[in-house]
């Protein structure tokens, strides 16, 4: 495919991923968060396959398949099961209200554009237009982790941060070596399992997964 079409498609995919990130800040219910994460991972897997096709790199197809299996099938299923068991409360009083967090997210994406200007000036890759969007997605994930009280939302925010980092690696360097990528997937999966155990413990101790309750442990 021509370079211009490849550049447009990859940037389009990165924009769609960022929009799903905004859904995470806008919707309150954990189920909507999990669905947004799953759709975002679908787009990410398609992007991996696209870059693999455009650069004739077979390894990226394997990474796309592993990404699909892990982040589209296994993790959302796991998260939905977790949500069914413990995620009964919606985000009633987050540290930031929805409108404020969306505006801050917009400011963060602007900041991402400013922060990646040196990279854009130097990079020659056709996918470089999407790099600020990937950076913005990472910041959005951090914002979700920092500003939400429900542990489940924080977990999904962290996973979205992972997605943003994977997207940045894809757009910035056409992916990282296969072994490293698989190692990262294993890390994320183990992280999810550990976090899940913690969520169950919090729920057993406090009858809710509001992480502000953990402050009670201080006294």
């Amino acid at each position: 495919m021509s370079e211009a079409v490849f550049a447009q498609l990859s940037t389009f995919g990165a924009s769609v991923m960022l929009l799903f990130g905004f859904v995470l800040l806008w919707r309150r219910s954990p189920r909507a968060h999990i669905t947004a994460f799953r759709e975002q991972s679908v787009v990410l897997a398609v992007l991996f396959a696209l870059v693999g096709y455009a650069t004739a790199d077979r390894e990226l197809y394997i990474v796309a398949a592993a990404l699909w299996g892990l982040k589209v099938v296994v993790m959302p299923w796991y998260l939905l099961r977790l949500e069914r068991d413990v995620g009964t409360d919606r985000e009633s009083r987050p540290y930031l209200n929805v409108a404020a967090s969306i505006l801050i997210a917009g400011a963060l994406v602007l900041f991402a554009y400013a922060a990646t200007r040196p990279v854009l000036a130097v990079s020659q890759l056709p996918t470089r237009d999407g790099i600020p969007l990937a950076m913005g997605l990472i910041f959005l994930g951090l914002l979700v982790v920092v500003s939400r009280k429900q542990a489940l939302s924080q977990i999904v925010g962290f996973l979205m941060l992972e997605n943003g980092a994977a997207l940045l690696a894809l757009l910035g360097t056409f992916g990282i070596p296969l072994v490293v990528e698989l190692g990262v997937f294993l890390d994320v999966l183990l992280g999810l399992l550990v976090m899940q155990v913690f969520v169950y413990h919090i729920r057993t101790t406090f009858e809710s997964i509001d992480v502000e309750q953990l402050n009670q442990l201080k006294h």
Partner: protein, 308 residues
């Protein structure tokens, strides 16, 4: 040309709303009124007598004409069927935004004028929504204007015609999303405002026009339908301008009319399906939705700066 575009818009607007209502009825397993019902409504209202409250002032009588006139002028400026329009010297994005806001402002004042409770409530709600939505209209189209190098709407259309690949760029997509959400807010559609509601406490636009009757109501309803057509045209012709005429040739103009009708019908179908699927948002949630659209517009501007 000054006459063709407004006449075309005035003729199409009731049909568009009729189509959307008919589709919504069918999707809800009702038969619904036929698509030409709004035309019959207009004819009926123009024949009816006007009843004006005692407490109403000159503003109440003047407002329908002002609102209608502002909407008609916008349709003359907009790239409806011709890209560099006849009024191209003033066919600017900011003029369009200003005229739309002028109509909203006058209507809000007219809602306050008779001194009824529902009118005041509708007016305050409308101003809240407009205050949050208007900057996004300007911002979303501004994202396109940066790429085109001019805020003239005709120039923006020509730029997209010249470089078709631009239509898939992130700034265009983000601007489309932002403008779509703002269209829902400004034209008074679900999830912001239910146009078919009869419960006054849920009304925004209808609450302001509760006191109107006869030809005044006809003009205001027509202007509201025109506003929907205007936003649909912005969505269709700024982002997918193929089919629009760039010369005065009658063949090109006829093709442009057909293309416009087709695009409006597609957007009408999408809106009907969307309105059937979602529920009206509670009023305190509307600023959240409009914040999302504002940030999308902001990102559209940023993306077009980054590209240029």
């Amino acid at each position: 040309m000054l006459i063709l575009q407004p006449a075309l818009a005035l003729a199409l607007a009731p049909g568009l709303v009729g189509l959307i209502r008919w589709l919504k009825a069918r999707l809800q397993s009702r038969r619904g009124p036929p698509p030409w019902q709004p035309y019959a409504e207009l004819r009926k209202l123009f024949g009816k007598e006007v009843v004006v409250a005692h407490s109403a002032s000159w503003l109440f009588r003047a407002a329908p004409y002002l609102v209608f006139a502002s909407a008609v002028v916008v349709t003359a400026i907009l790239p409806l069927v011709l890209a560099p329009g006849a009024l191209d010297g003033i066919g600017d994005l900011l003029v369009v935004v200003y005229l739309l806001l002028l109509g909203t402002f006058v209507l809000a004042l007219a809602g306050l004028d008779p001194g009824t409770a529902f009118g005041g409530m509708g007016a305050s709600r409308e101003m809240t929504v407009a205050a949050l939505a208007e900057p996004t209209v300007a911002l979303a189209i501004f994202g396109l204007a940066i790429g085109a190098g001019s805020t003239n709407l005709g120039q923006i259309v020509l730029q997209t015609l010249r470089t078709p690949i631009l239509a898939a760029s992130p700034s265009h997509l983000l601007a489309f999303a932002a403008l779509f959400i703002v269209m829902l807010a400004e034209a008074g559609r679900l999830p912001v405002d239910n146009p078919g509601t009869h419960l006054e406490l849920t009304m925004i636009h209808e609450a302001m026009i509760l006191e109107y009757s006869g030809r005044y109501l006809a003009l205001i309803e027509w202007a509201a339908w025109l506003k929907l057509l205007i936003f649909f045209t912005l969505l269709a012709n700024l982002f997918l301008p193929w089919g629009i005429a760039t010369t005065f040739a009658p063949g090109a103009l006829a093709l442009a009319c057909l293309a416009l009708v087709a695009k409006l019908a597609v957007l009408g179908v999408i809106l009907a399906i969307l309105e059937t699927r979602i529920a009206k948002l509670r009023l305190f949630r509307v600023p959240e939705l409009l914040a999302v659209s504002f940030v999308l517009g902001l990102l559209a501007v940023t993306a077009s700066f980054a590209r240029v």
